[in-house]
Every structure is written in C-alpha cells, then in structure tokens.
Symmetry: C2
Subunit: 367 residues, 2 copies
C-alpha cells in the first residue's frame, strides 16, 4: 500500500485524556469523520490516521506521533499542509512539530531546481558565504529604490532583494520598480565588472505572478523571492515547475501564526522548491533560538530523499559587527542578509559600508 | 493623503517596555527598517506605522493600536495579510486581534459577489436557514462519494460540499469526482423535483484551480469551496474577480485560531470575496467560544463599507439534536452544516436521517 507520512505534534493535555486526544487528532487529520461514518474497509485500514506513539514531555505537554497515508496528499503542496495541520491548527493546544516524508511523497514534489549550489554558481562564488541586502523602506518611489540598488551593487553584493513589503503599490509598481532596479544594477556592473543579482518580490494572484516572472525574465533576472504563506504554498510549487530557469528564495512572512515549528516550514519550503530560505537569526529582533536555527539549517541542508539542499539565509536585524560570529556558525554554505543596518549608513557612505560587509565575508577565516 | 488601516494587536510584555515594543511593531509592520534608514520625508510622514494607543488588558497583556497606511496594501489580498501580520507573526507574544479597514481599502477589494442573499437565491429558499452536509471520508472511491451525494440529495439538502480533505488524490481525482457527484445530484433532482447544490473543493496551483472551475461549470456547478489559508488568499481574490458567476465558500483550514483572531479571518475572507464562511460552532470538537462566534457573525454580517454580507456556516461536530439551539442562536441568515453525524447513520437510514435534519430546519420556530 502507500507509504506513511510520519507527523509529530506537541499536545497540551491532561495525562488521563492524552490517548483520546491523540486518537481524535489522528482522525481529524485524516478522515475528519467519526469512525462510525467510515465503512469502507480500505479507508479504515489505510487512510485513517494511526497513533504511532505518545511521549510525555513534562509540564502537561505530550509528543504525539501520528502516521498518515501519503496517498492523501495527491502531490499537492496545499494539500500536504492541509493534511499536516489544516483543522488541527484550530486547536490552540496543538503544535505541529515535525514530519518525516516518505520516498513516494518526496518524489511527487520536485524540491529546489537549483538549490544552494545553483545560487553560488549564479553569483560565480566559491569558498565563501554569499552576501545579500534588501531594498527598503516601502513607500520610496521607484527612483529612490533604484538608487539604493545602484549603490548596494557598487558595494559588491552578490544578491539584492526587494523588501518583502514591496508588492505592487502605486508608490513603486512592480513593473516600473523591477525595470528600474535591474537597469541600475546593470549600470553598476558596467562600472565594477561584477554582476549583482537583483531578486524581485513576487506578489498577488497567480496570473499577476506569471506576468511578474515575464517582466523579470525580460530584464535578465533569474532569481525571485516569494512568501509561500502569503502567496500560498501551491504557488511556490507551481512556479518551480513552470519556470525551471528561475531560482526561488522563500520569505518567512506569516509562518509564525499557525503554531508550526520554523524548521518544518524550512523543510516544506525546500520540498516545494525553494532554493534558499530566509529566517531570523538568533540575537536579531525575532526570538528564534540558536537551537531552532540549528534545526532550520539541518532541514535545509540535511538529507531529504535526494533533493538538492536549500541555502540558509539568516536575517532579521543582522549587523556588520556580527558577520564573523554568524559566518562561524553557518559556515560557507549560507547567504548573509543585512538590510536595515546597511541602509542606516549615511547616503554618502552606503557604498563603502556595503563594501565593508562584502570584504568582511570575503576575508573571514572560518573556524 | 491615504487613509489609515487601523490594526489592533495584543502584546504580552513588561509594562516598562510596552511602548518600545509597540513602536517596534509599528516599524516592523510598515517600513521594516530602522528609522535611521528612512530618509524620505513622505515615507516618514505617511508610510511609517504609528502607535495610536496602548491599553493595559491585565496579566501582562496590552492592546496595541497601530495605524498603517492603506497605500501599502496596493489592492492585494496577500499584501494586506502581509501588512497585518507578515513579520509580526514571527513574534510568539503578539496576537493579531482586529483591524478596521478604511473606505479606499474596502473599495479596492470586491467583497462577496453574491453574498448571503445569493446563496439563498440559488437554493430558492426564504424564511429559514440553509442546510448543508459534506462528502467524506477521503479515501472513498468516486462511486462511494457519488452514492453519498445521491442519498444526501434525496434527503433534501440545499448544499452538499466536498470534505476539505478531498483534493486531487488518486483515490478520487477532482474531475472524476465532480462529474460523478454532479450527476448523482442531478439524478436525485429528477426524482425529488428539488435541486441540491453540489460544492466541490478547489485545490492545487492556480492553473489547476482554473481547470477545476471549468470542469465544475461544465457540470452546472456554480458554488465552490476554497481554504484561503491553504490555497493562498490571493487565489480567493483572483477567483472572485475572474469568475463572477461563481459563489465561494471559505474553509477555515490553517487559520490557526490562537494567533490571529478567527473573526478577523472571517472579515478578511468576506473582504476578499467569500460569499460564506465555515467556522467551528461552540460545543463542537473545536474550542471556539460563543463570544468568539458572535464576533465572527458580526464580522460576516455587520456593516463593511457597503460590501455584501457573507453567510455564517457553523460546523465542526454538529448534530441533529443541536439544530434548534443553533438556529435560535444564528437565526435564519445562516447555513447549518452537519457532516460526520449524518454520515454516521447506517447506510439504509442516511436518506431518512438527512430528511429529518432538513425537516428540523424547515419546521423550526425561531425564538
């Protein structure tokens, strides 16, 4: 029969009712009906979720391991999310902690089309981590964003991405912005001889996104950003299939709301085709722990049924001073993203500050 | 200038640092950069979020009212969600509680194309609540689902929807299922003289969804279900615009009750075009309170810049016995959804049990 999708939930419960809770969860996340309403013997034997194990974590929290049938996923990213946590997300005492994907499920998805290695190859970089910054704040007119892109590219960055707040607003519509920023980066490349990659942020419905991809391609752009929990995970899956020439960087917006562990999101985004994943580095302005980020790195780089590795992109309140420490932690297989701290440099010093960031990464002696 | 999008967050914090937290949230959800990096006076004056008020709720929780510029939304459903909670979702001590949409923002979205009234008109029903059940469990072959659809339709229901777990799995692929269930319901209509509406569940990437809409339309289907937090809210917005002949029922999968209030989700889904919204009724198997459901009803039916009302669809562990109580609570402007409890009836009694549900709704004397 079909292989098992192994899911781990954390459930807050009385010890006396945890078995019933676990069984309820297994039913909710599979047939979503009382067992009295499940008469087909095949459904009973192969589709109804099974409680594989329950472990006591202390303080009223339990590990609940549930096996689901991978046949229920049907090769769709949205449906995988639905099976993992669709209705269970409505329980405020249940956390989706982790999942182990069987081989047939992994095969149904494609994973990164380029992966970490592809992002290094695009930037023509070996032996060091990649550098990245962000165009912000939203509200700036197109010319202002293009000027920032020009200066950041002059400073020698590998990648420059749109802020995830840059959508298709009147103050900087997607098409005008992408054409202007791509041109600014070409101008910088003509001056420096080194090509920076501009990474626009995709947004809107799928037909808009298709138009955005076409605009990006016409400007020589080959790497884009998408927030899968804003655009919908099926959009990432569909884009990865429809546009194999593009690399995709996943943004974590809205990943926190649903009580799903950040490293499972990292694993899912990799499965669906993200070549890189942005996440908050410990010590920045978000509360992710070092342990959590270690698990994110493992989810992105560790073995996953032969899929390419995704590149970790630690971000979120990073500064130039922290570059050595961050490089020692993540090693060469990462992209360092410093946004606001670079842009806080006086306009006349932005190129120099960017160059200092690039130099710090290039000259770092990894421990 | 542009109008203000008023957002209410609940933040857990020390009293001594709540002002700093609130300011940080206002910046995170607008320019997402240190103010030192924001030099454009227009951005500073009109795009940077403002802390409008802070209120102490007790127990370390604070109400933080933040005003954002509606110009940042750019008329995109995904970007509205991003502005409301994109990065803030990564803070585990912040809850998105509510939002007030200014007139220009509401105008940029279309709201329900048919609304509650349209769902009653389709069913040719006046003066009573609507009835609905669900085809489940997933795993059943197409013939099994079609047989259920036939019996439920013979029982006289107004609407029969796919379970939200029915995607495009091999055991009941979308096209085969929709054609078979639509045919089964036509056969029942030929016998009873009364037409039940079949509501398929949309899933997958946008091009798949477009194909699904075409299949549904070719079978005379005019109402479909979508889980906006699985498919992506931009999909609901785009479908509502592209297919004005269709009505859309929103499913709450992945709305993750604890960190975004369920009634804000209800309001958002209405704004984006949902004609009806399913949510867990108090006393069912989810922990939604009566107060919360009251607010959901207000979000769906209350004034919202002239948009049509969405129809409340209480569900989630409902039973025949509870029909009078539920009708008294929601009144006539609702759709009652009983799934598993109906389907638990022995196969030979399913038509009679469904007819009893229909009769209980039709003959109820509203308080």
């Amino acid at each position: 029969m079909t292989e098992k999708l192994q899911v781990l939930y954390k459930v807050h419960s009385d010890a006396s009712s945890i078995e019933e809770r676990a069984l309820g969860l297994a039913i909710e996340q599979s047939v979503e009906a009382p067992l009295a309403a499940v008469r087909d013997p095949c459904v009973l034997s192969s589709i109804v979720g099974r409680v594989a194990a329950i472990g006591d974590r202390g303080n009223g929290w339990f590990d609940v391991h549930i096996d689901l049938s991978s046949a229920t996923v049907g090769g769709d990213a949205g449906q995988l999310l639905n099976m993992l946590f669709g209705n269970a997300s409505l329980y405020d005492d249940v956390v989706l902690e982790d999942a182990v994907f069987p081989a047939d499920l992994i095969k149904a998805f494609s994973g990164p089309g380029h992966g970490a290695g592809g992002l290094f190859a695009r930037a023509n970089v070996e032996g060091r981590a990649l550098t990245c910054s962000a165009l912000k704040p939203q509200g700036l007119p197109v010319e202002g964003l293009a000027e920032l892109a020009f200066k950041l590219a002059l400073g020698g960055l590998d990648y420059i991405k749109d802020d995830h707040g840059l959508a298709n607003q009147l103050f900087s519509p997607f098409e005008d912005r992408v054409r202007a920023c791509a041109a600014a980066i070409r101008k910088a490349a003509a001056a420096t001889g080194r090509r920076t990659r501009y990474v626009p942020n995709l947004c809107g419905g799928f037909s808009q996104i298709e138009q955005q991809i076409a605009i990006a391609r016409s400007e020589g752009v080959d790497t884009v950003m998408i927030a899968p929990m804003i655009a919908g995970v099926p959009a990432l899956q569909a884009l990865r299939r429809a546009h194999p020439d593009f690399a995709f960087i996943a943004h974590p917006a809205m990943t926190g709301a649903a009580r799903i562990s950040p490293y499972l999101f990292a694993k899912l985004f990799r499965l669906f085709g993200a070549d890189a994943s942005i996440f908050p580095n410990p010590g920045g302005r978000f509360g992710f722990s070092e342990e959590c980020c270690g698990k994110i790195v493992e989810a992105l780089r560790g073995p996953l049924g032969g899929l390419r590795a995704s590149l970790p992109v630690p971000a979120g309140g990073m500064s130039l001073e922290r570059v050595p420490e961050v490089l020692d932690y993540y090693g060469r297989e990462a992209m360092l993203l410093i946004g606001g701290a670079l842009l806080s440099a006086p306009p006349g010093k932005l190129v120099a500050e960017t160059a200092a960031f690039v130099r710090a990464v290039a000259e770092h002696h990894y421990r």
